[in-house]
């Protein structure tokens, strides 16, 4: 690739995160995109791409009109839910590398609490696979699906609800000092975690689940050349990868073996290393997709940050805290900051590498972001 065409993230933008935005999802999308453009110092007239998730309700052409983008040259949608937080960036980056577009906005905006509430069967049916074979059995939410998928791991490695609770308490402690977080100034104790109700007995408690909230998030992906002309340091997209194995399902992923999942994750890590020369375990900070707390445990192991079966010890020893071996989700993650389908975690990675995060990892130069696929970001 011509080094000038290297994809970079030059702008980030968010609305506030709340339980009731009081405005349309299109407005949230437009506000977040405008904030990302202003952050980059790029006039809307020079934006020429819009990428989101298939699940997003806003329409590219209406968003284009809101923002005043004269000619839209690139559109794309990442499939499913959380996969979109990495795949949407990859779709934008591909357009930049190929020269199909010069400034692509990636957005996700939802009224996940005041609108169609995110944890309900209705929302799940929009993303899950299998249809009546699952819903007729009462197997009909993301939390139930995830509980079925993860319990083998928890049994095999002796991960208890208290182990999950210790991660959640740490995440909520970080969120409590992040003014952007829904749970700002609202830390949680282990006792409160353990007495919270079962969402899916006996695996997932209320506080193991990500937030249901309203809000919009956006990033501006452009070329190193264009970012350089803007005169601001941009964050380099070192790698952007997906690696879906043949047996995979998005939600209701209960028809394959743990060995197949391990192979799939190994393929993803191999692809990240091939693209960037950097192994995910070598980064300075990790943003691990945490729709439910156990996914942090498996991600730590799948990305080689700790050994298989060791995540609960790694977390209990404080290694995922700010001063630990691998600081994880310093914004509080999707459990503590907000659930914008993971795109807020990509924004947090950018903030960490800019040195402007609320809970800053000192001197962070490289970051991993996971969610379906994965991204490796580096300071320019």
């Amino acid at each position: 690739m011509n080094p000038g065409r290297q994809p970079v993230i030059a702008g980030i933008g968010e609305t506030e995160y709340s339980r009731e935005s009081g405005r349309s999802e299109l407005q949230l999308a437009a506000e977040a995109c405008l904030a990302a453009l202003r952050d980059a110092g790029l006039p809307a007239a020079r934006a020429d791409g819009l990428v989101s998730y298939t699940m997003d309700s806003s329409n590219e052409l209406e968003l284009q009109r809101c923002l005043g983008i004269p000619v839209l040259r690139w559109t794309g949608r990442a499939p499913f839910g959380g996969v979109g937080c990495t795949a949407s960036i990859q779709i934008a980056a591909a357009a930049i590398a190929a020269g199909y577009a010069e400034a692509v906005l990636v957005w996700r905006a939802l009224n996940g609490r005041s609108g169609r509430r995110y944890g309900t069967p209705e929302a799940s049916k929009a993303v899950g696979s299998g249809g009546k074979l699952h819903y007729a059995m009462g197997f009909d939410t993301g939390a139930k699906s995830y509980a079925a998928e993860i319990q083998g791991y928890m049994r095999r490695h002796g991960v208890t609800s208290e182990d999950l609770g210790r991660y959640v308490v740490a995440a909520r402690t970080l969120a409590a000092s992040n003014p952007r977080a829904i749970y700002y100034d609202k830390p949680l104790t282990l006792g409160e975690h353990q007495s919270s109700r079962w969402i899916v007995e006996p695996w997932i408690r209320r506080h193991d689940c990500c937030l249901e909230n309203d809000g919009g998030a956006a990033l501006l992906v452009t070329s190193a050349e264009t970012a350089g002309a803007l005169g601001k340091p941009a964050i380099v997209l070192g790698a952007a990868a997906q690696a879906h194995g043949i047996g995979r399902r998005i939600a209701y992923d209960v028809y394959r073996t743990e060995a197949e999942i391990a192979d799939e994750q190994a393929a993803l890590v191999t692809e990240l290393v091939r693209q960037s020369g950097l192994h995910p375990r070598e980064v300075d900070v990790a943003l691990l997709y945490d729709a439910f707390s156990p996914s942090v445990f498996t991600a730590l192991e799948e990305f080689g940050i700790c050994d298989v079966g060791e995540a609960r010890h790694f977390i209990n020893a404080g290694e995922t805290a700010l001063g630990g071996k691998m600081p994880v989700n310093p914004n509080g993650g999707l459990i503590g900051e907000a659930y914008v389908h993971g795109l807020n975690n990509v924004i947090e990675a950018v903030r960490q590498l800019r040195g402007s995060a609320a809970n800053q990892v000192a001197g962070a130069q490289t970051a991993l972001v996971t969610g379906g696929g994965a991204l490796l970001l580096t300071r320019s």
């Binding site: 299998g130 249809g131 007729a136 059995m137 007995e201 043949i246």
Partner: protein
């Protein structure tokens, strides 16, 4: 007919009818229109023996139907080698473990006949 039609027709007739490939013999569940092993479109029906093993389980509460008795959702591995999602009836969640033998039965839920399982080695 939809790809899962045989499952629902079979349940009304008291059988679990799986989709099996006429070309390579592989059982495909959840049913797909094309065989993932040999890309054949030619399907046969294989009636499941009803023997299965418990793999995972959870209590399903439907938040929109608070008065409803919670159901146990179970993922079982059928003797035919594929996983199947159904309810486990007459079971105590505290006594379940991976590998527990379970047997196929049928029950009418919300006006629809569904494949279900109960603890035991079955026929």
């Amino acid at each position: 007919m939809w790809d899962d039609g045989a499952i629902w027709d079979g349940a009304r007739a008291g059988e679990l009818r799986l989709r099996a490939c006429r070309s390579c013999g592989a059982v495909c569940h959840p049913p797909l229109p094309m065989c993932p092993h040999c890309q054949s479109l030619d399907w046969d029906t294989r009636v499941a023996s009803g023997r299965a093993m418990l793999k995972s389980w959870l209590v399903s509460i439907r938040p929109d139907q608070a008065g409803e008795t919670p159901r146990i959702v179970a993922v079982v591995e059928l003797a035919e080698g594929v996983n199947f999602v159904a309810n486990l009836i007459d079971a105590d969640i505290a006594t379940l473990h991976e590998g527990l033998p379970v047997a196929l039965c049928f029950a009418e839920v919300d006006g629809e006949w569904l494949p279900q399982f109960r603890i035991g080695a079955g026929a």
